[in-house]
Symmetry: C2
């Protein structure tokens, strides 16, 4: 009896698609649908609140059954966490860019403020700001707190870097980070799509205040 | 038949207390108990969240029955509104003081920041910040929005007065008010009783940032 052929990476002839590619496609399709569930949930939570949105509502808005929903997400709490994570990913990405850019840290901090403002008024901003207030399970709350603290720490490091390179004057960097985060996060409360200013313009006004301060004549 | 005696204010002899005084005492007692209900509710909402606190929980924490609770407040939504109003009263009172004080408006704005910080970390701060997010009835939401907008407007007027008297440099006063309110309101999210800094110390650090800005060397 012939021994089995050795396993080698062979290129399948064109026209005979690999079952792995099909699986990748299926998996990509699954990820796309999962993203759609998370986006729809984020919008529903923002509109009606987390406690007032049921999985039945969500399924109906997506025109699927509730069991279908469970193919993509295990629970409402898990959906909220995924919404939080999606918002966090945006913040992470802008933070990483600013950390790795060249130039004085004050300029990089201000670039981060612009990116953060855009994320906070985006689809996942509400969930990012409110997830912690929904009195989720202890484990989930702890994860969210940890992830938020991570952002906070890196924002503070950017301010510290500014103090170190002289582009930011000596200040209480922890309180400065809280003041900045507060100003930006508050946008999530008052900003609506019909706002007269775009997030970038608001960020620029905030930057002006934080850069030069309010002091006029003494 | 004798006509009835004319109604005159007569001083009752000592030892025979007026039934009106008794009613005043009863009414004062009622107000005190109502305040106790509202304070207990504010603390419960902050600890466990509005949606996770039932009137049964609240009655149990006050060692009364739920029907007794209804002698003081008509509904859970009404309690939240009263909590909101109690926090607002603190803000109003500090705002009025700052509006009526003498001196440059920038100093009066900074005094307001100190009072606001104290109110936001107080018992009613959580309710004041979160009432609007609890998806209350339309009428209630509208009242809360209106009251909040009133505070916002007066805060902006204080900044405008500073620009007018020259103590605050020309800036986008609306966005400046939002940045300030955001920094302060955010305290309600991160500040806990065990915080190393007192609200007044935090306010002073915020004032330093908002007064002088962050700009170091260019």
């Amino acid at each position: 009896m012939p021994s089995p052929a050795p396993r080698t990476k062979t290129r399948k002839p064109a026209g005979a698609p690999s079952p792995w590619a099909a699986r990748r496609r299926r998996s990509a399709g699954h990820a796309l649908k999962r993203d759609a569930v998370i986006l729809a949930a984020a919008r529903a939570f923002r509109e009606r609140g987390y406690h007032n949105t049921s999985l039945d509502d969500l399924a109906a808005s997506l025109k699927v059954t509730k069991p279908t929903l469970y193919l993509y997400v295990p629970s409402k709490e898990a959906i909220l966490f995924e919404c939080f994570r999606a918002g966090l990913a945006q913040i992470h990405s802008t933070l990483m860019e600013c950390e790795n850019a060249a130039g004085p840290a004050r300029e990089r901090l201000f670039a981060f403020i612009r990116g953060y403002a855009a994320a906070i008024v985006g689809d996942f901003g509400w969930c990012m700001l409110r997830a912690e207030d929904q009195h989720l399970g202890t484990a989930m709350s702890r994860r969210i707190k940890l992830l938020k603290a991570g952002i906070d720490k890196r924002m503070r490091a950017l301010i510290d870097a500014g103090v170190a390179d002289g582009s930011i004057r000596a200040c209480d960097t922890r309180m400065t980070a809280f003041a900045l985060a507060g100003a930006l996060n508050w946008m999530g409360h008052w900003y609506r799509e019909d706002a007269t200013l775009k997030p970038g313009q608001i960020a620029d006004r905030f930057i002006d205040v934080f850069n030069r301060g309010l002091r006029g004549r003494d």
